[in-house]
Symmetry: D2
Subunit: 351 residues, 4 copies
Amino acid sequence: MPRTGRAVIAHGQTFEVREYPVPDPAPGALLLRQEMAGICGTDLHMWQNGIPGEMVLGHENVGVIEALGHDVTTDYVGNPLHEGDRVIFAPGTPHGAYGFYSKPDEAPHFRGGFADYILLDYPNTCYLKTALPPEVAVLTEPFTIGVHAVMRARIQLGDTVVVQGSGAIGLVTLVCARISGAAKIIVVGGPAKRLELAKRMGADVTIDIEQVRSAEERIELVLAQTPRKAGANVVFECAGFLPATPEGLRYVKRDGTFVEVGHFVDMGSVELNINQLMMRRNLRFEAIWGSSYEHFVRGLPILERNEFPFAEMVSHALPLSRVHEGFTALNGTYRLGDETAIKIVVRAAEA
Amino acid sequence: MPRTGRAVIAHGQTFEVREYPVPDPAPGALLLRQEMAGICGTDLHMWQNGIPGEMVLGHENVGVIEALGHDVTTDYVGNPLHEGDRVIFAPGTPHGAYGFYSKPDEAPHFRGGFADYILLDYPNTCYLKTALPPEVAVLTEPFTIGVHAVMRARIQLGDTVVVQGSGAIGLVTLVCARISGAAKIIVVGGPAKRLELAKRMGADVTIDIEQVRSAEERIELVLAQTPRKAGANVVFECAGFLPATPEGLRYVKRDGTFVEVGHFVDMGSVELNINQLMMRRNLRFEAIWGSSYEHFVRGLPILERNEFPFAEMVSHALPLSRVHEGFTALNGTYRLGDETAIKIVVRAAEA
Amino acid sequence: MPRTGRAVIAHGQTFEVREYPVPDPAPGALLLRQEMAGICGTDLHMWQNGIPGEMVLGHENVGVIEALGHDVTTDYVGNPLHEGDRVIFAPGTPHGAYGFYSKPDEAPHFRGGFADYILLDYPNTCYLKTALPPEVAVLTEPFTIGVHAVMRARIQLGDTVVVQGSGAIGLVTLVCARISGAAKIIVVGGPAKRLELAKRMGADVTIDIEQVRSAEERIELVLAQTPRKAGANVVFECAGFLPATPEGLRYVKRDGTFVEVGHFVDMGSVELNINQLMMRRNLRFEAIWGSSYEHFVRGLPILERNEFPFAEMVSHALPLSRVHEGFTALNGTYRLGDETAIKIVVRAAEA
Amino acid sequence: MPRTGRAVIAHGQTFEVREYPVPDPAPGALLLRQEMAGICGTDLHMWQNGIPGEMVLGHENVGVIEALGHDVTTDYVGNPLHEGDRVIFAPGTPHGAYGFYSKPDEAPHFRGGFADYILLDYPNTCYLKTALPPEVAVLTEPFTIGVHAVMRARIQLGDTVVVQGSGAIGLVTLVCARISGAAKIIVVGGPAKRLELAKRMGADVTIDIEQVRSAEERIELVLAQTPRKAGANVVFECAGFLPATPEGLRYVKRDGTFVEVGHFVDMGSVELNINQLMMRRNLRFEAIWGSSYEHFVRGLPILERNEFPFAEMVSHALPLSRVHEGFTALNGTYRLGDETAIKIVVRAAEA
């Protein structure tokens, strides 16, 4: 396989496309031709702080099998694999993480999604075959965060639920709450276009933070939507904005649950009155960190039911050469071209 | 209120309509004008054994408020109540159960649903206002069995689920499993018309016991529908047929859960090889008995979302004078007129 | 019963003893002769802020039945009751709380423990007979906080546990953790005398905050006591001191649990880095508020096993006339006479 | 290492001692000098049916490190390992199970405990260093069954618990229940000597099945020991005797839990009335199969607290040449020499 492929090398706040020889997969490994790779909030935050050294980013991935290591016959759950099959995979392994590859010039070069190829060569990588279109399959990794959050929340049939935030994580958490028995779901977020999508993804009520600018007013509106105005059974904080946490804690009912999904990056400290916000509510607080193989195995079949307009979450697809535009948009107005960004993906094929 | 109303008095296997004076509700009580009352498998079984003494049956109820005790202003969850409001209620209370009233000739006469009126006079009765049409509201009580079963099952996102039985309990359990995150649901039941409804209520796969008559064959078909043919995460036994239990246990995956919902009546013993069927699967077995106020409070808002063809579950509505026809049909061919019976209800208004 | 009895009336930071006629218990009620009533941290804090109006305090109680309402024959769990039996009771009821009685001059006068008599006349009060000596029985209410905390923590066999704080709540939580399968318990507290008692109540390791004054150093010492220095499975914060929470969060292992038991009074806000302290640990945080009847029913039989030196927790017993000395000691040096205070109780009988 | 060692080869119902060369441990492997290996009920049952082919039995093991594979430096939880250290290990691995080795004449010969040496050469074997005396360490594997059973039972503080059976599994389950917050434990078993040990291992009440021969009478005695005679919160069936299951189900309280720990071998079917015994109790039934690495990691530190007379559970230690005497005793009168057998172990050293 004497071909070459491109990879996008991030450094500081710059992106550079380099060519490398395409590796042959060793026994146990798998070579993918990249289809799409999402830009994640964690990527954005690292870029905002300046990427240290050089790195191949892209940990939300979907691709098509270009070549199989000679002994690879099935995926992680036992489905048979062949060249040309579409697969998604969990980026974290016990041996290293795809999408945070810090030695791009060293072979195998291709251990991140912003590239023409992805080599799955860490032992025990969880890869799963799927027939989903790539614009849904690429959402699997963020979807697993919602799966993890909702499993930890232990939503019960008939619960009233609030989701704070209507970005990608908010939307997938909304869907997971919807299919977990919530009787009513309130989404607090914005802008309007995202909330409109939230409605079609299962929100019963939306509150637009661009319209209702006072936290006190939002709290009143949320409580008014809950039985006896006593608060929600479960609140998911998916905004990743420090003041969202004390605000969201006030949405919770006595004996209720608050699930923190939005603080994947360190944005500093927040002042909390533990007595007022947590003790007096006799509350459970679950802090969600990433996801595991189990969440991929559970989440993919739900995406595959395709009962929600998942594909609309991918607002933009950029070629490798324009990765920087995605980061710039997410860093600023959340707009790219004429569209509000929800999930921006990077696509190797120039189409 | 010098009027009279009719009640159906069951005795042995006979039903007789008698007239009684309509009571005024005391403080704390509520008088309903009956709209519909379902015939339940428990009613059927008692009738098959011969009703001891005299009894007013009918514990799956919906009615409209005819009169409010002077201090009754809200329902169990705090919604304001007025004459003319539709309400459903939990038949069991700490002070007695509606629908199993054994002294029909003693005032207040009206403590069961097969009658023109229902007096809710036990302290702490859980009654709930609803705007559902009566043919859905009447399903609340059986629906709470499904809510109870699925809460105890602790279905997780992505689970593969089997429901044995496609009668009323099977169908409501199916819906509760569907909205609790199951990735795939297999219903084993019959006849075909019920399975067709099961499909529209969320079944992904149905297996018709009238077509596939061998248990071994059904087990093979079920396993073939599960990941790696390893079995289902959760199996609900809603058939209420003794051999269904050992068959259903064989559908369960190692570390899985079996939920027994179908044995509300004593049909005798079954032979179980605990080592083979349970131990080697390291299995959890949950035996579900009835439902509680919590299940009504949780279940009603889900029915009110009305996302499934619940109303089609009511296959027949009979006047008070024809109650016996309902029991006869359920005792025999499960057909009444030209239709397969699913849920037969009794309706006071002659329409 | 034309006798009179004394009650201690708190007002601002003063205490006054008044005499009132002793009431007869109405049907359903119970009159106790007070034996002991503990001074609680909540009492202390209210007193520090100045008791608003007048109040009879004392919600940690034990007494002997002086008179039974004519229809009272058993306690809450069905044990027969007679005059002279010792009982404890849950201070909170759905109808009002004992020990926070704000109209002392109004009959029945006796709804708090700092008095000669206690009238249990709220409907559905949970009172339980016990043969424990009063100096152990008086600990039931604080013990239920430990029961609640440990049930919510869901300690598993073999867990490593940390308890922050060695006051009454710390010690009862320690005992509950000890009998819930912890393999190792580390107590971080002081002074030395309390830690010595903690050792006899089940602590394997103690760290004296008077000796190890740096939080960083304490964190290092705690981690060194945990498997692979990875942190504890469960940490209970029972110190009720704001900086204890961020310190204690750093004791917790990834996927572990932090239980906040110490913030029953509002001491203001604390700065928390949610990403660093909670998210990166994928942690569960349980905030415990008070206890319920279930915790009394569960906790009393455990106290009755009497396997720990509970009685030593009562460091001082003061007569009604010296209540102020107890508050003054707890407000200052935690010393009264020559002894370190742990639990100071008020005793009606002058001995 | 040109030495030889003995192994006991079971075949049908015979045992034969053979000599094999002692293997050198490959990288990653560990060679133990055997100290003790327990005879388990599963071993007994296989022997009763006739061991198929040839097999080296012994899966409850403790030994001392004779030689370390050159890269083995720590045990499963990170403790440093050296020659001479005592270790226990989990017999089951993803690659095969120690103690059921069916090709004894093939190298490495030593994969079972009834031998002079044990070679731990399966990848990912969980071995743990311990300073326990061998007569306690040898109990680790059966102890993990109790750990598993009690974790699945989810005993809550204050529960009333019944253990059926006072053999090794009954006793370790008793201890695990004792340290998990049970307020009262009733053991139903025999003979008297085992019950006397049960008392010292935490039983509050014992019922001797040799004295109370009627199941109905035992049920009455058990219920009389529970609050309001309503039954136990949790019942553990550790007798492994078919009629014990329907009897034990009748000990359980409504909403309670029954844990089946005793049916590790297939003894056929039992008649169960699911409606009467399970449904009407709204019961949870947990069927326990073996144990996992987690149970070893959790259980060993509890054994190491050594708070119960574990060592007394080892009633007999037999040399390799007398293995058959152990099986014969367990197959008959449960007596060996003048002593009642509880746990019989096999010891390589002739002492």
